[in-house]
Every structure is written in structure tokens, then in C-alpha cells.
């Protein structure tokens, strides 16, 4: 078996081709193309229209950015200390101008946590003076203090905190005094006509409230709030001479429904809160 020049050249060509192919495979393994996973994507830049245009122009990251941005807008997460609201409930003085015989006026402070839970404190004064046309007495309750503590739950916690729909509970307490004067007593059978007064009757009351209400922004940080309150007495002090008609902060003892209408000012807490509010303004 003889080896000539043609065999040697063929062997050299095969060797060179093998070396070239091996070199190309080595280059492919040295610089692999890594998939774009586990990367922190920046928030979408520009308006929705601009993001969609970039996607249509071939920017494959734009769709993911748009999806992430949409999810963020659908459920805003507010900080622990979102804002503080201070307000005054003034509906009773207005109703007194329309003939109501009693009033309770209070100042309330609300801490908005996560735009969801809201501890509330209400402190106020209540008074009454009533001489019903067809009755035989005058009832007076001098201005007396009351306080309530409680909690609200904002069902619109995903939305702008300037607009809220609330359910809540309260616990209220008031110490107070009252007079019943100018009482005329008539006994037709015995032909008796007596006049008497009972003054300085002291009492106190503890009650609970279930509250449903809304809060609406009217101008800048100012809001109006409206609540309906179903309340019930846990206990109150009676005396030998009777039971109180009016309880400061509660209203007439026999009534189970109350209302409040308040003007309030909201102070945002923290940079995150202000950012969320400004974002919602842009929306």
C-alpha cells in the first residue's frame, strides 16, 4: 500500500476543516446568549400611548413595562401613615336654627393607616333646651362634655384617599347634669294643680355606635364628611326623679339613629403619601 501526494493533501484538508468547525463551536460556548430573566425592569417611561408605540416599533420590553405599570395603577399601596384628618361636626347647630332643641358639636381627629384602617377620636360638647308645645315641662341640659373613640374601615382603600366610603364603630361616654323645670301637674278628679321643678339631676351614659359614612374632597385638602350612626346605650344612670331625655354626643335617649356632617382638613404624612396623591391628581 503506497501513500502518494494526493493522499497527504486530502488528509491535511480534512484536518483543517475539523479545526475550523471546532473553533466556531468554542466561540459559541464562550459567549452564550443569556435569557432576559430575573432582571429589575424600570417603570414604564412616558404615557401609555408612547409605551404602546415603542412596543409596536419592536421594543419587546415595552409590553412588560406596560403590564407592570397597569398592575401598579390598579392597586395602589398606601403607607402605614397615609394622612391625618382633623374636622368639626357642625350639623346640630345648623339644625337648631331650623328648630331642633338640642345640639352636640365635636372636633374629631382621624389617623389614616394604609388608606384602610382609621383610628378615630371625637371630643365635644352637647346641650339641650326643650319646651314642647303640648307638654308640661321645660328640659335643660347645660353644655356637658363627651368623648368617643373608635375605628373606621375605608372600603375604597385602593383609590384616592380624598374620597372614602367608611364603616366603623365607636364607644362614647358623657357625664352630664340636667334640670326639669316649670312642670305643671293637674289631677282632674281631685281638682289638684301643682307646679314643681327638679334641678341638678346628675347622670352619665356609656354607649356604642355603628357608623356608615362617606368623605368627599371639595377643595385642596378640605373635605366634607357625612355619617349615619346607629347607636345603643350600654348603661346610663337613672335617678329617683327620672331618666335623662338628652345625652350629649348621643342625642335624645329614645332615638337610635344619629347623623353627623363635618368639615375636615387632611394633612398628608410622609413623601410616599404625597406622591400617591399627586399621581392620582394626574390621573
Amino acid at each position: 500500500m503506497s501513500i502518494d501526494l494526493r493522499h497527504i493533501l486530502s488528509l491535511l484538508c480534512v484536518t483543517l476543516l475539523t479545526l475550523c468547525a471546532t473553533a466556531q463551536d468554542s466561540a459559541r460556548y464562550v459567549t452564550p446568549v443569556r435569557p432576559a430573566t430575573n432582571k429589575t425592569l424600570p417603570p414604564a417611561r412616558g404615557t401609555d400611548e408612547e409605551v404602546i408605540k415603542r412596543f409596536l416599533a419592536g421594543d419587546t420590553l415595552a409590553l412588560e413595562e406596560a403590564r407592570r405599570d397597569s398592575a401598579r395603577r390598579a392597586y395602589k399601596h398606601y403607607p402605614l401613615l397615609t394622612d391625618v384628618t382633623v374636622g368639626i361636626n357642625f350639623i346640630d347647630p345648623v339644625l337648631m336654627l331650623m328648630g331642633q332643641d338640642y345640639a352636640s358639636v365635636d372636633i374629631h381627629a382621624t389617623l389614616n393607616m394604609w388608606n384602610r384602617l382609621q383610628p378615630v377620636v371625637e371630643v365635644g360638647m352637647g346641650w339641650a333646651k326643650s319646651t314642647p308645645d303640648d307638654m308640661n315641662f321645660t328640659y335643660r341640659s347645660k353644655p356637658s362634655p363627651y368623648a368617643k373613640v373608635g375605628l373606621n374601615y375605608n372600603f375604597m382603600y385602593k383609590s384616592d384617599p380624598r374620597y372614602q366610603a367608611l364603616l366603623g364603630v365607636r364607644m362614647g361616654y358623657s357625664p352630664f347634669k340636667y334640670d326639669v323645670t316649670d312642670v305643671t301637674y293637674t289631677n282632674d278628679y281631685w281638682h289638684e294643680n301643682e307646679t314643681f321643678s327638679v334641678k341638678g339631676l346628675s347622670s352619665h351614659a356609656l354607649w356604642g355606635e355603628a357608623v356608615a359614612g362617606i368623605k368627599v374632597n371639595i377643595w385642596r385638602a378640605w373635605s366634607l364628611g357625612w355619617t349615619i350612626r346607629y347607636h345603643w346605650l350600654f348603661k346610663y344612670k337613672k335617678s329617683e326623679n327620672g331618666s335623662p331625655w338628652f345625652i350629649p354626643g348621643y342625642g335624645p335617649r329614645e332615638k337610635s339613629l344619629g347623623f353627623s356632617f363635618s368639615l375636615s382638613y387632611t394633612l398628608p404624612l410622609g413623601a410616599n403619601s404625597r406622591q400617591e396623591i399627586s399621581t392620582s391628581k394626574n390621573d
Binding site: 339644625l95 289631677n187 281631685w190 327638679v198 368627599v216 349615619i228 327620672g242 331618666s243 331625655w245 347623623f259
Partner: protein, 159 residues
């Protein structure tokens, strides 16, 4: 969230509702006296009974020859006792007198029922011509409708 602006005035309208000015008790504190068969809780009715207060102005009659099973007896606030006479009619002209001793207490009931006097009963007594016994069922008389005094008669049917 503009719907909140619409709800606000609607809730304002709710103010005009929910006001009940009715008095479901009496306007005065009156002791309710009910008649029973002796030794039982069976209520009885007396026919032809006349009831009048002792020293009542004009000798006015509270019940005039009527069938009675219970009666409200108004008390004087200017005295600590009030007497009532029960005349049973008929040929025998039997009559019993009941005496109530009490303390009058000024009392404010409610805005709907007003102010009045309550009475704290200390004792009730009676003659025994027809009446078998008398008992206090409720020592504090207010404007409620509970029985305050029980009168027992030793009969099964009406007189």
C-alpha cells in the same frame, strides 16, 4: 368617584325621617287595681259597682254602677294617703273602703310622656265587708300599665 357627590345630598334627606313622638305609657302615674278570686290568680268581674274617692270634690264618682274587673285609682299629691269606697249596690248596700299610704315623688318620664308624680306605696289596707284581702303587687307606681294592687274577693261570680 363623582357618585359620592350625588349620595351626599341624598343622605341629607334621610334627616327628615325616623322621629317617633308617641307616648306608649300613661300620661300620669296611676295605680292599677285588679280584682281576683280569693287565693287564686283568676280575674273576676264585679257588676253594679260604684267607686268614689273619700272627700272628693263634689262627691264625684269615678265608676258609676258598672261592671268592673280593674280600675285606675288616681291619688292625691297634696296628701300622703287617699281613700276609696267601693259600693257593691243591691239591697244590702255593702261597701268597703280601701286606704293607700304613699310618698309622692316628682318624676320626669320622657319627652313624649312628660313629667308627673310617682308614688311609693308604704301600705294598703281595706275593710273586709266583701273584700277578702288586699296586696301590693308593685310598690312604686309609675306611668306603666302593670298591676299595682290586687283585691281578692271570696266569690266565684260577680256580685
Amino acid at each position: 368617584m363623582r357618585w359620592l357627590h350625588v349620595i351626599l345630598p341624598l343622605m341629607l334627606l334621610a334627616l327628615v325621617a325616623c322621629d317617633d313622638n308617641s307616648c306608649y305609657d300613661n300620661g300620669s302615674a296611676l295605680p292599677l287595681v285588679r280584682f281576683y278570686k280569693s287565693g287564686t290568680t283568676q280575674q273576676v268581674t264585679l257588676d253594679g259597682v260604684t267607686i268614689r274617692g273619700v272627700d272628693a270634690p263634689g262627691d264625684s264618682v269615678l265608676v258609676d254602677s258598672s261592671a268592673v274587673s280593674e280600675v285606675y285609682l288616681p291619688l292625691r299629691v297634696s296628701a300622703n294617703s287617699t281613700q276609696w269606697v267601693l259600693e257593691y249596690g243591691g239591697e244590702t248596700e255593702l261597701a268597703d273602703t280601701i286606704t293607700l299610704q304613699y310618698r309622692s315623688v316628682p318624676y320626669f318620664s320622657s319627652a313624649e310622656c312628660g313629667a308627673m308624680y310617682n308614688f311609693e306605696l308604704s301600705s294598703v289596707t281595706s275593710t273586709r265587708y266583701v273584700i277578702d284581702s288586699i296586696a301590693i303587687a308593685k310598690p312604686v307606681i309609675d306611668n306603666g300599665t302593670d298591676v299595682a294592687i290586687r283585691l281578692f274577693f271570696p266569690v266565684t261570680n260577680e256580685y
